[in-house]
Amino acid sequence: MATAAAQYRICPRTGLQFHKSAEALIKVNAVAGVVALLLGGVLALLITLTRWQAVHLIDANEFYLILTAHGLDMLVVWIIFFEMAILYFCSSTLLRCRLATPRLAWFAFALMVIGTVTFNVVIFTGDATVMMTSYPPMPAHPAFYLGLILFAVGALIGCFIFLGTLVVAKAEKTYEGSVPLVTFGAITACIIAIFTIASGAIILIPTFLWSAGYISHIDPAMYRVIWWAFGHSAQQINVAAHIAVWYAIAAIVFGAKPMSERVSRFAFLLYILFLQLASAHHILADPAVGTEWKVFNTSYAMYLAVLASMLHGLTVPGAIEAAQRAKGYTKGLFEWLRKAPWGNPVFSGMFISLIGFGFLGGISGVMMGTEQLNMIIHNTIYVPGHFHATVVIGTTLAFMSLTYFLLPTLFNRELILPGWAKLQPYVFGLGMGAFTLAMMGAGTLGVPRRHWDITFAGAALPYEFPGTALLMIAIFGIAGVIAVIGGAMYIVVTVGTILFGKKLDAGAYSTKVTPLRLPVQVSLVEDGGHGGGWGVPGTFVFAMVFLVAFVLYYFVNWKYLSTVWGLS
């Protein structure tokens, strides 16, 4: 219930209203995420320097242990903590209302922290070197699964608090009409998250009981189908969340409005309907499931979720182009882009995220997710190449860009080292870009993922990979180090700013909620879209370039598949 205490402040720079409890929770969740990113980043460096055969830094035992921790701390802990912050921001802050049940939100946060600490302790004591996927019958200590379950329960509570906050905003009439598009994207992420976490519970609870000795057998095929409904869907939360962040940044930096609410929201709806089918992507090279199941599910029901991503890929830059053109940058096809604020890390990071996610992550994802093509990719290093493009360039870089916006408005601090902040998205984004391309190259040549030594030293019947593969791995090593430097720059700037940045005026807390009141228009035709014509030709050219790259690469892979052994 709204209390009489002074709870609300309006940021003098952005006009956003922060509810005190929500503000604190957004901060702690974001900070917890960044701490995980720091840990995961150190591990990333060790992994890169080990797989880079010329350096081959740490021994096999530690390598597999660290790879397990890196996967979970990055893919689960960093991203989901930051997503909790985004959910609270998109509900309480964007809708200008109080956060529902802040105490429960603190409890959820505590559960997530306890879960994280639990599984990390188990991993680092060497009792759970099973990789993030923990495929049975390879066992881990029960506390490993328990830690994951606690974390997931915490995240689930966070999702319901988000939904509760939407109800509060509606009931207390703090906004009019429909929720903003960015909040709609967050709702998408939240719905997928609930499905994801439920799947995780369905499989991790019995696996926990199995590892504790109460259940005798976990079927490995069943585990894979259900675990991946958790493992892959978790990445779809990220997609929905970082696309919401793209829209938010386009709005914040350019004042861009969606080209069409209808198209963008429809695309998010397609995500809700189809993205969770992605479990199949991981089962394509498996026995025990049928072809029809694989084909239908891997294509997200005939690629309708891919269609959604292709729509966002047009509408996000399209919204930016329209906003820029409205400001008078109308020369030629690309003046709007040339004159974009490339020195502002909020924008540059977001744009690199968009390009990297589409061209590297999106296209490679569809290759791997094609039933037959998967056979020439499955479990090679191409796979982590793909998901580093989606989750690191796409999600992580988008979240990093958002941080540069949140530091002054949420933490009320002026950025330290603005020169570093300016460079950071380029170092990180381009380093990661080269890193993922090198991985995909090496994977095409057959280099396996999760492998300590591809020279097979000490094996009875070793195999020598082609020289090109080793060259790719060397490029991967160098690019990986560059990306880690980019990540370190982010940590230095953000942590430094929170600790030492110049304090900015936060705006005074008051008891008053300032609801969002807009001059809502009822007219149906006025100001609809951007002139209803070819308002964004530059973006359309980009989209066509993307399509051509996509089509060519797709058929190149089929050509390659047609040359391998006959299989039936």
């Binding site: 964007l94 490995p220 090279a285 026995p287 047009l314 037959q372 090679t380 598949l561 006959g566």
Partner: protein
């Protein structure tokens, strides 16, 4: 008006959509359908499709069948561990065991002939990765997966394990010959 504020038009779902968006939706949708129908198309006209023939199997029974094949068709042994090299007749069922941390036995196949390759694991999950061909198949314990393979190039191949299976994972590599 922007994406972080409620839509300007209360009835936003009746707002007209830009031509450029409609054109892109149509193009993207057509491309999605092409990609979708490529998969069934390849099942009819393509030569590389993963079989789904699968049986539940007890490891001992699979090991017994493998041993029978080895007893009948071994032509030589190889490597420090004297792994048998087996040349079974074309068209027959051939067996390959994945276990911690080796592949057993080594198969010697004839170019252009088809074989029913039976795969299973004795313990954890493993990954069958044929190099430099780069054909990759998941292997699950308790499941016998039967894949018909038709080699199309002679030479020495490697089978690498590409599913993490413990500390000896990176040493789990073997050979396969095509004559």
């Amino acid at each position: 008006m922007s994406a972080i504020l409620p839509p300007q038009h209360r009835i936003w779902w009746k707002q007209p959509v830009d031509k450029i968006e409609i054109v892109w939706i149509v193009i993207a949708f057509v491309w999605c359908m092409i990609m979708f129908f490529m998969m069934p198309y390849w099942h009819v006209f393509g030569k590389q499709n993963l079989s789904t023939e699968t049986y539940r199997v007890k490891p001992e029974l699979f090991a017994k069948a493998t041993q029978e094949m080895v007893d009948k068709y071994t032509v030589r042994t190889e490597g420090p561990n004297k792994v048998p090299v087996v040349a079974p007749p074309a068209g027959s069922d051939v067996y390959l065991i994945a276990r911690l941390w080796d592949w057993w036995p080594i198969l010697e196949l004839e170019n252009g002939k088809s074989y029913r390759l039976n795969l299973t694991s004795m313990d954890y999950q493993h990954g069958f990765s044929l190099q430099p061909e780069n054909i990759n198949i998941q292997i699950l314990p308790g499941y016998q997966h039967v894949v018909t393979v038709t080699p199309n190039r002679t030479g020495q191949y490697a089978i690498v394990c590409n599913e993490f299976c413990g500390i000896g994972h990176h040493k789990m590599v073997s050979r396969l010959y095509v004559k």
